[in-house]
Amino acid sequence: MTFNLTYLFLAVVCYLSLLFLLAYATEKGRIPKRIIHHPLTYVLSLGVYATSWSYYGSVGFAESEGYTFLAVYLGVTIAFIMVPILFQPILRLVREYQLTSLADLFAFRYRSQLAGILVTLFMMAGTLPYLALQIRAVTESLRVLTQEAPPKVLAFGFCTILILFAILFGARHISPREKHEGLVVAIAFESLVKLVALLLVGLFAVFGVFGGVGGMNAWLEANPEALQALYQPAREGPWASIIFLSFAAALLLPRQFHMTFTENLNPRALPVASWAFPLYLLLLNLAIPPILWAGQAIQAPTSADYFVLGITLNSGSNLLPVIAFLGGVSAASAMVIVTTVALSGMCLNHIILPASYPDPTVNLYRWLLWGRRIIIAAIILAGYGFYLALEHNQGLVQLGLISFVAVAQFLPGIVGVLYWPRANQYGFLAGLAGGGLLWTATLIIPLLEQGGQLRTGFSLTPWLEYAGQDKWTFATFWSLTINAILFVFVSLVTRQKPEEAEAASVCTKELFAASVGVPRARSTGEFTQQLGRMMGTDMAQKEVSRALDDLAMRAEESNPAELRRLRDRIERNLSGLLGPEIARALVNQQLRIDPAAQNVLADTFRMVEERLEDSRTRLRGLAAELDTLRRYHRQVLQDLPVGVCSIGPDNEIVIWNHAMVEMSGLHTYKTMGLQVGELPDPWGELLQQFLLTEKNDANKVHRRVNGKSRWFSLQKARLEDIPAVQPAAVASQQTGIVVLVEDLTETHMLEAELMHNERLASIGRFAAGVAHEIGNPVTGIACLAQNVRDESEDHDTKTAVNQILDQTRRIGNIVKSLVGFSHGGQLDTEYAGLDLSACIKEAIELVKLAERAKQLGFDVRCDPLLRVWGDRQRLLQVFVNVLSNACDASKPEDTIKIVVEKNGTMVDILVEDRGSGIEEQDLERVFDPFFTTKEPGVGTGLGLALCYNIVREHRGQISIDSTAARGTSVHIKLLSDDSGTESILVASQ
């Protein structure tokens, strides 16, 4: 059976159109997110590992090397068992530092642009022939089905469609934060297609060719050499070497790295992939032996590499060969698309950008996007060029394994990234160069010699005979041995740069390094301005805004420690766009660090805290116990009811506990890292002044906080031994200080009230005595004076006696007041619910009897239904006193405002005037008996003291707030009629 070439090409176009449609629907949100982010989608997208080599070549490989073909997948299985210790740390680094490729990862870890360039070139060299292989697999499969050589223009057409797809769905966004969901879903679909196609062909082999499992077993019994040919190479061939190579490839192949890490849509899918992806590979390979045996049984008219197609030609079905063919197309196209997208990022970041960074006037986003798209086209076309050059010369497996040995050269480097902080760029570059040379000598030169492209006379055969190894084992062993030896030796004899040591500590998470220094730029605006010089203002604005959003930071932020975090975030984000080395160079050049500013300790603490929080459940044994102890101590410190503020050697705030936050209203994250003097007043001034004093304590320090008087007690202690997180501080004998701040305001108020009550009590006793002692003689004087007036006829005498009587009445009034005050309202009180509005109005009427009050306005805002519980006469006395004082303080035409509000079980009464106010120093004494600010003889100084007593007897509160500028407010709180406290008041009578 043969197929028409046009018919097959149309099938390819239709299949790829379906792929376009799927990717487009995904990007447009037509496919539910739960499907896109499902672990199964991720697992299937990893199926890009299986290329046309797996799809077609596995059968040919099985024929020549038996079960050795399975080693290509067993290594992957072993690698995926180690997902938690191998893949997850890389995923964490890639996501955290916005790394897009293996070249980015190495350039970031080894802080070397050269490392990025070398890795990119090596990847290109190892992968381009592999790309050619995929194109060849498609054209060869066309040849098998049509029985004629397809024109080269078809291969070119296939490449053109792949270029379009890769550009449209693989280079849609330039930032790695925006994933290419369309690409992921399309690749997952391709994996599903090739699995289904291969299983269908396998089922056809078993049931269509052998007539069932029994038939196949019978054939195997009749042909025991077929099974022997599978097992024997596994025992004798390069089985272990290929397991090792595929172990490395699972992690390091550009397409695997891209789908596993860069396009990972759901980090939680990675653990699922640890078993599901090997299961996918197992299913894919389950069909290979039956297909091989079916091809051998029917003597399919193709090479074993294309038995997958060859046996279907005997099926009598038109559909099965086309499905099998499309399975091959899906395997090849997925590999070409993903590899090209991955390589394009590497080329752009590590070859093009370092060579020609664009002018700041150019829109860098567009430049990067189109640069990447052009590179994608160039790589696929280069693959097409290789296809033309290498056509028919090599088997499918040959080029695939060469590529595997190439990427295995990165294995020592990746061990250095994850587990060896001492490894440095010189060791990495030396190892890679040594391993690369051996790879070229043992695999590339013989390949070119074999193909006739190179004639050096060099032959590997004597070496292989001497070592007694096959060429894969020989090349793998020696290239990696030389690579590893050079890597370790050079790393040990050369010195690591400080920035490399910092990156190493970040990668291994074993050591700790805090960002040192603060940016010179003091605002986010300066960040934009400085970055704009290199990338244009628009892009600088977008990048600064993006970093601010990431950190949930305000654009007005000016805290140096926060700006340092912003700088680090910008560097990470730019790393995703430009690669880690260019991003670092750009940020270092534009956002310079101030070497003089050292707020390191606060940052160090914060970073240590963050790191420990991050690794909380990973700590084991003693480390976990110590961490628990640390948490306990930190909690004690944080929850202390006393404010704790620790100040570092450079005068920056290091600890600011919850009590300090409550007292000051300043959040910890805003104060950490600030210089003490930079704290807002009164805190900056209070602490700084206290730090300058020689005494270690200060008691009852008065400050006004938010317009209210507060009293603080401060204590300080010098920290002689700063923890080793900042060795420089210890070395320079610098010390920190811990300050304890206690808010004594409540205690002070209670003390004042107690003193006031004591004064009232003693004055009450005194007043009772005075009233008694003075009252009796005065009554006697008044009686005698009346007698004299009645008996005397002399006008002058009568006048004088009247004056005596006036003075005795005045004395009598004072005595009455004293008696009232001394009795404390205990007598003749009658508690009941009363109409507060009426009471206030009556008080106003009484006050208005005075001439001065008639010139004033009274603005009463009181609900007429509001009732309070109390003695009407005594409360009237309170309001008359308070209103009289307000009248005395007010100027003519002023208005006195009385606002009454119900607040739960209490009623709040506010009497507010715009008068002369009370001086701050007098405010504390206004409730003291005999204290008055009025002229001598005008006031007795007992009014407010009496009010205070009456209100307290009513279980209420009275307070005064006043400033000379805005008058006086008297706040009175009384129990409402419905407060249910009747019994309390009655009981207290």
Partner: protein, 65 residues
């Protein structure tokens, strides 16, 4: 601190890898890769390793690593 003493994910991963290496890259290979072994033996061993890996995954907590 909430870890039970028996929870040792790293050790279990190493154990599963060791079992895989033992089966596939040590002389144990000669025991199952005999000429008279059924053709599917290698797949059974493979699925056994995948099963162990799945078991590791299901018993591992999100924050073990």
């Amino acid at each position: 601190m909430n870890d039970k003493p028996t929870r040792q994910p790293l050790e279990r991963i190493i154990l599963v890898v060791a079992v895989a290496l033992l089966l596939f890259v040590t002389p144990v290979l000669y025991a199952w890769a005999r000429d008279d072994s059924p053709w599917y033996v290698v797949y059974l061993l493979w699925i056994f390793i995948i099963g162990l890996s799945a078991w590791l995954n299901f018993t591992q907590r999100d924050d073990d690593f």
